[in-house]
C-alpha cells in the first residue's frame, strides 16, 4: 500500500513537471487528484500499520519518515485547498516523492515494542510536531517560489517563472500563513513534548540534542514573526528565513539522531 502511495506521488510529480513546462490546466488538476489519492492511500496504509502495532507507527526512521510525509501531504492539501497556489504542488510532489523514496529504500529495522511510545501526550506531541513541521516546510516551498519570482522581477528579466508563478504579495502571504500555522502547531507540539517528558522521565527538559535544536528552530520562527510585525521583515528576507528555518527542522529531524544522539534517537534508527 505504501508502494502504491509512492507510485501516486511519483506520477503526480511527473504531472507537475509537465504542467510546469506546458501549463495545461487539466494536467494540473489531474496532478492534484493524484496527490490527493496518494495521501488517502498513504493514510490508509498508516492506519493499517498502526492498528497492527497498537499505536502510532513512529518507532524507527522509516516509519517516522513515512509519517512525516503523510503529515506533509495532508498539510499540502489543506494549503492547496485554501490558496490554490498551483506551483506549490510541484514542491510538495518533490518532497513527498523524495521522502517516500527514502522510506522505500532505507532498511526497515526491527521494531521493539516500547510502552513509553504511547499515551495521549505522546500522540499529541507527534501529531502537532509533524503537522507543524509540514506547514513550515510548505512555508519554505512558498518562500522558494517567492525567491524565484523575485529574482526575475528584480533583475528586470521576467523569464520562465514570471508567467507561471503568482504575484510576490501572494507568495509572501501564503508563506506567512504557513509560518503562523506551523509555528502555532510547533509551539503546542513542544509543550506537549515537555509534558510527556515530565511524565516519562520526570523532568520537562533534559538538554537532549533534539530538544535543543527544536527550540532553536522554534526561536528562528519566533524571531521571524516578531521581525515581520515590528520591523517589516517581509518578502525576500522572510523567504530566506523560511528556508533557513526549514533546514534546521530537517537537521533536527534527521541529522541530530544520526550525528549527535539523545533520547529521541531510537525512533529514527
Amino acid at each position: 500500500m505504501l508502494q502504491f502511495a509512492f507510485l501516486l506521488y511519483l506520477v503526480s510529480l511527473a504531472g507537475y513537471l509537465f504542467y510546469l513546462v506546458y501549463q495545461k490546466e487539466p494536467v494540473h488538476r489531474t496532478s492534484i487528484y493524484l496527490i490527493t489519492a496518494g495521501v488517502l492511500v498513504h493514510f490508509a496504509a498508516i492506519v493499517v500499520m498502526g492498528a497492527a502495532m497498537g499505536g502510532l507507527p513512529v518507532h524507527n526512521l522509516v516509519q517516522s519518515l513515512s509519517m512525516a510525509a503523510l503529515a506533509f501531504g495532508g498539510m499540502f492539501l489543506f494549503v492547496q485547498y485554501k490558496f490554490h497556489l498551483k506551483m506549490l504542488g510541484l514542491f510538495a510532489a518533490i518532497i513527498l516523492s523524495g521522502t517516500m523514496l527514502m522510506v522505500m529504500v532505507l532498511p526497515d529495522t526491527q521494531v521493539v515494542p516500547n510502552d513509553i511510545l504511547k499515551g495521549f501526550w505522546f500522540y499529541c506531541h507527534i501529531l502537532l510536531v509533524f503537522t507543524g513541521d509540514a506547514a513550515l516546510g510548505l512555508a519554505c516551498g512558498a518562500g522558494i517560489l517567492y525567491l524565484l519570482q523575485e529574482k526575475g522581477i528584480k533583475a528586470k528579466s521576467p523569464g520562465f517563472f514570471f508567467k507561471r508563478l503568482p504575484s510576490l504579495d501572494f507568495l509572501d502571504l501564503v508563506s506567512h500563513a504557513c509560518i503562523i500555522t506551523g509555528f502555532f502547531l510547533l509551539t503546542f507540539g513542544l509543550i506537549t513534548g515537555f509534558v510527556y517528558a515530565k511524565a516519562i522521565w520526570g523532568r520537562f527538559w533534559s538538554w537532549d540534542f533534539k530538544e535543543v535544536f527544536s527550540l532553536g528552530a522554534w526561536l528562528v520562527y519566533a524571531v521571524l514573526i516578531h521581525l515581520r510585525l515590528y520591523s517589516g521583515w517581509r518578502g525576500r528576507k522572510s523567504a530566506i528565513m523560511t528556508i533557513v528555518g526549514f533546514a534546521i527542522i530537517i537537521f533536527t529531524f534527521l541529522g541530530v539522531n544520526m550525528f549527535l544522539g539523545g533520547h529521541h534517537q531510537e525512533f529514527t534508527k
Binding site: Q149, I153, K154, K156, S157, P158, F162, K163, L165, P166, S167, L168, D169, F170, L173, S231, G232, W233, R234, G235, R236, K237
Partner: protein
C-alpha cells in the same frame, strides 16, 4: 451556390482619416444592414466597424453585387468611390472566411493578440442578428470564428504577453501585487504613456490615484480625468509612505525621487512593496532604489526590452494560430460544400439505405425458413418504403424556388436527418 464576399478597408490599407470617414456607428450599422438586406442579391450581411477597420461581410448570389455595395458605402458616407477604391479589398469564398477568422482571432489587428477585438466582432454579429440580416451561413461562420478565436487564445500564447509599454508595466504590477484594488497609484508629471499606464491600472480598479505636477493646475486637471486627487509636487516624498505604485514622467533633469527618500519611506511603510515605473528621459527615479529590498524600479528601457522579447514570442505563437485558422477554414469549406442540394439528397439516400439494409439483415437472420426469392422480395419492399418515405422531402429540396433561401432549408434538412460531419456537432 451562395457566395461569401467580404469587402472593406483596414489599418493596413487606409490611413486613419479615411477610416474615420468610412466608419459606421451602431445606429448607422443597423440602418445600413436593413437597407443592404433589401438588395436582391444579398441574402445575409454583417457590418464590422471599429477604429481600425470597416468591413462588410455578406452572402450573395453573384459577384456583381460588389460594385453595388461599394456604391452603397459611398452613398451612406457621402464619399466618392474613387476616394476609397484603392484602399478597398474584396475577398471571396475561402479568402473571406479566412479573413474573418483571422480578424476574430486578433491576427489581423494592429496589435496582434489584443483581446478587445473578439468582443467587437461579437457585438457586430449581435447587431446583424438584431437587424435580421444574419442567416444560416453567417451564423455558422461567426460561431466558428468565435470558437477559433477562443482556441487561439487558449492554446497559443498570442495574448499572453504585453506588447506595449503601458501594458508591460501593468503586467509587472500584477506580478508584484496580488490585489491592485487595494493599491494606490501616484502619477508624477504627465505624458501620454504615463497616463495610459494609469488608465490601464484604473481598469484594474486601483484604490486611489494621486497626481502631482510642478504646475498644480495641471495636477488638478489630470486628477479630474482619473477621478483622483491632486497634490503638490513637494508632497511627493511624504506620499511615498502611503502609495504603492509610482509612475513618473516629468521633464526634470535630475532624479525627482532619490534612494535616501525611499529608504526613509520604506521604514515608515514597514517595507511594504513599492513599485516605480519611470517613463521619463532623462530618468526621474534613482536606479539605485532597485537595490533596496521590496522596491522595484523599471525604467523605459527595461520596459522596452520586455516588450521587444514579448513581441518576438508573439510572432512565434502567431504561426501556430495561423495553422488553427487554416484548419478551421478547411472545415468550414467542407460544411459549405455539403450544404448543396445534390450532396444533401445523396446523404439522405445513403442514410436511409444503410438503415434499411441493417434492419433487413437483422430481421432476415432469424427467418431461416424463407426462400431466397422471398428474402429478395422483402429487401425490395423495404427499400421501396424507404425511398417513398423520403420522396417528398427530396422533391421539396429539388424544387428550388427563386425566392427561397436554399441554405436555410438545406441546413434544416441536414439537422433533421442528422447528416452533419460528426466533428462539426
Amino acid at each position: 451556390m451562395p457566395h461569401i464576399i467580404l469587402i472593406g478597408v483596414n489599418h493596413k490599407t487606409a490611413p486613419v482619416e479615411l477610416r474615420e470617414k468610412l466608419s459606421f456607428s451602431r445606429e448607422e450599422t443597423l440602418a445600413a444592414l436593413k437597407e443592404l438586406k433589401q438588395h436582391p442579391d444579398i441574402k445575409e450581411v454583417l457590418i464590422f466597424s471599429t477604429c481600425n477597420r470597416t468591413e462588410i461581410l455578406y452572402v450573395s448570389g453573384s459577384d456583381s453585387s460588389v460594385d453595388d455595395v461599394a456604391a452603397f458605402i459611398s452613398a451612406q458616407k457621402h464619399i466618392d468611390v474613387s476616394e476609397f477604391a484603392s484602399a478597398l479589398y474584396v475577398l471571396h469564398r475561402d479568402a473571406a472566411v479566412r479573413h474573418i477568422f483571422r480578424v476574430a482571432s486578433s491576427l489581423d489587428s494592429m496589435m496582434v493578440g489584443e483581446p478587445q477585438i473578439l468582443g467587437q466582432v461579437k457585438q457586430a454579429y449581435r447587431t446583424a442578428v438584431e437587424a435580421g440580416a444574419s442567416g444560416v451561413l453567417l451564423n455558422r461562420m461567426m460561431h466558428k470564428a468565435f470558437s477559433i478565436a477562443k482556441q487561439v487564445r487558449k492554446e497559443t500564447g498570442i495574448g499572453d504577453n504585453a506588447v506595449s509599454i503601458s501594458y508591460a508595466a501593468v503586467e509587472l504590477a500584477n506580478k508584484i501585487f496580488s490585489d491592485l484594488s487595494a493599491k494606490s497609484v501616484l502619477l508624477l508629471g504627465a505624458g501620454e504613456m504615463a497616463e495610459l499606464a494609469v488608465e490601464h491600472l484604473m481598469s484594474h480598479n486601483v484604490k486611489q490615484v494621486l497626481v502631482a505636477n510642478r504646475t498644480f493646475e495641471n495636477a488638478v486637471t489630470l486628477a479630474e480625468k482619473f477621478r483622483g486627487q491632486a497634490m503638490g509636487f513637494e508632497e511627493r516624498e511624504s506620499a511615498l509612505a502611503d502609495v504603492d505604485i509610482i509612475i513618473s514622467s516629468t521633464g526634470a533633469t535630475q532624479y525627482v525621487i532619490t534612494a535616501d527618500q525611499v529608504k526613509k519611506a520604506m521604514k515608515k511603510r514597514q517595507y511594504r512593496t513599492l513599485f516605480f515605473i519611470d517613463i521619463a528621459v532623462p530618468r526621474d527615479i534613482d536606479p539605485k532604489i532597485n537595490t533596496l529590498s521590496n522596491a522595484y524600479v523599471y525604467d523605459i528601457d527595461d520596459l522596452k526590452t520586455i516588450v521587444a522579447s514579448n513581441i518576438q514570442q508573439r510572432e512565434q505563437e502567431t504561426v501556430k494560430a495561423e495553422r488553427f485558422v487554416a484548419q478551421a477554414v478547411v472545415k468550414f469549406r467542407k460544411w459549405l460544400d455539403s450544404l448543396a442540394i445534390v450532396p444533401t439528397i445523396k446523404a439522405i439516400n445513403d442514410k436511409m439505405t444503410a438503415i434499411v439494409e441493417m434492419e433487413c439483415d437483422k430481421t432476415l437472420a432469424h427467418l431461416d425458413h424463407l426462400s431466397e426469392q422471398d428474402r429478395a422480395a422483402i429487401r425490395r419492399m423495404t427499400r421501396a418504403i424507404a425511398s417513398r418515405a423520403i420522396h417528398d422531402p427530396i422533391l421539396f429540396l429539388r424544387n428550388t424556388g427563386t425566392h427561397r433561401d436554399d441554405s436555410l432549408y438545406l441546413n434544416v434538412t441536414r439537422q433533421l436527418f442528422n447528416l452533419d460531419m460528426p466533428d462539426e456537432q
